[in-house]
Amino acid sequence: MGLLSKKDAVLITDPLLDNNPITIQVLGICSALAITAELKASIVMAVSVMFVLGLGNVVISLMRNIIPSKIRIIVQLVVVATLVIIVDLVLKAFAYELSKTLSVFVGLIITNCIIMGRFEAFALGNGPWRSFLDGIGNAVGYGLILVAVGFFRELLGSGTLLGFKVLGDPIEKTGLYAIGYENNGFMLLSPMALIVVGIIIWVQRTKNKSLIEEN
């Protein structure tokens, strides 16, 4: 990465694996469970969070020296909510189709703990550029897990990927279904998302033993 200094590059790469917001910090689980029943929703959510977290981190970072510490959480909440609502209005006015796809996610973005977590843990104590990188890095790390979970849930639950029937048609009994394969409807329900996230955490910590906490 010639563009970024080594110290800055870590801000992007660290949250991807060893400090992943979902699997290590265990933030943003709520939305990871709610919307990963299909891959497309996961991708849309990941992009939305990247936008809000990148921008929000910069705004909070710029304001970090004037925010009264007693009400800093409220200020953070107001900043996220304002950003999200403005984005939603602009989309509704100029990209109506897209805004309809996003509608469910708007509320989920505001309540996403990753956003508040990064504001609180990083943007309040660092400059705008580093905060921006931190925001993007965490959003990508979050997105990776979301896409992975969405991939397995849609594939095993509905037999489709991004809406395409990759395993054949369950009603016409073609493809895999011809030999008796059935979709697992349980994959579409939230508990399975938790289990899939759990499996990812397990695999990750088996590969990298240093991540296992000492009790």
Partner: protein, 248 residues
């Protein structure tokens, strides 16, 4: 944090200024974008109505509206008449599609006579009667447009939702669900209104039986499906007297 930002006075002043700035910012955006947003919603209504009566750009599997820039012209071309039914009174109104079903449902609850918009369209020599419906899903509002022939046999349907679960309830706006409604009967042979139930395990996943008053439900979306059944029953029932009067 410096000491200065810890005082109560500073905190209150900061909060007041922040609220003022944020409030006016949001008000500015909301009011300056409102005309665009309303226009988009109007066009969407036209697209929905056209979609229900089969004027759309569907490819093999996905649902596509006619494009926004031609929606107005297509609407004028295919929708020959728009009427508002209020009790026994039937009035023609070419702005009937702008009637807010949600407001009408609320005003009916308050005891007023509900205005029922109905859009009469003509396509390939066939007459379609498109009625709007609205109800509750799992999380929020769901609504739709149902196109019928003069015997109240469904010719096409379009459903939409505000915030149903993606991958589950949100699939009511997918082709595999909406297409099942085409051909379904709403009335019994005897002429009673029966509606269509979104049913689990109706042993007819390919939907070949058109007079069972059932379509196959989406697994994992029971409450959204029940909402669809309920809004079809409650809202379309109101149109029965009009359809009966057509036959006289």
């Amino acid at each position: 944090m410096s000491k200065r930002t810890d005082s109560n006075l500073y905190t209150i002043i900061f909060a007041v200024i922040m609220v003022l700035i944020v409030g006016s910012l949001l008000a500015f955006f909301a009011s300056s974008l409102k005309p665009n947003i309303d226009e988009n919603k109007r066009i969407e209504k036209q697209q929905n109505i056209l979609y229900a009566m089969g004027v759309n750009e569907n490819d093999e599997s996905s649902a596509n509206f006619v494009s926004t820039d031609v929606a107005g012209d297509e609407f004028a071309k295919y929708i020959t008449k728009q009427i508002v039914i209020q009790g026994d009174k039937i009035t023609e109104d070419d702005k009937a599609y702008l009637i807010d079903v949600k407001k009408e449902q609320a005003s009916a609850k308050a005891g007023n006579e509900r205005k029922l918009p109905l859009f009469i369209g003509e396509k390939d020599g066939k007459t379609f009667y498109v009625a709007p419906i609205r109800g509750k899903g799992l999380w929020d509002a769901i609504w739709g447009y149902v196109a019928m022939d003069e015997n109240m046999v469904v010719q096409g349907a379009y459903f939409d939702h505000k915030g149903e679960t993606p991958g589950l309830g949100a699939n009511i706006k997918q082709r595999f669900f909406m297409d099942d409604f085409a051909g379904e009967h709403l009335m019994t042979e005897a002429g009673d209104f029966k509606g269509i139930t979104v049913a689990k395990g109706n042993n007819d996943p390919k939907n070949e039986e058109k007079t069972d008053y059932e379509v196959d439900a989406i697994a994992g979306a029971t409450i959204t499906g029940d909402g669809v059944s309920a809004m079809i029953k409650s809202d379309l029932k109101l149109y029965v007297p009009y359809f009966k009067s057509l036959k006289k």
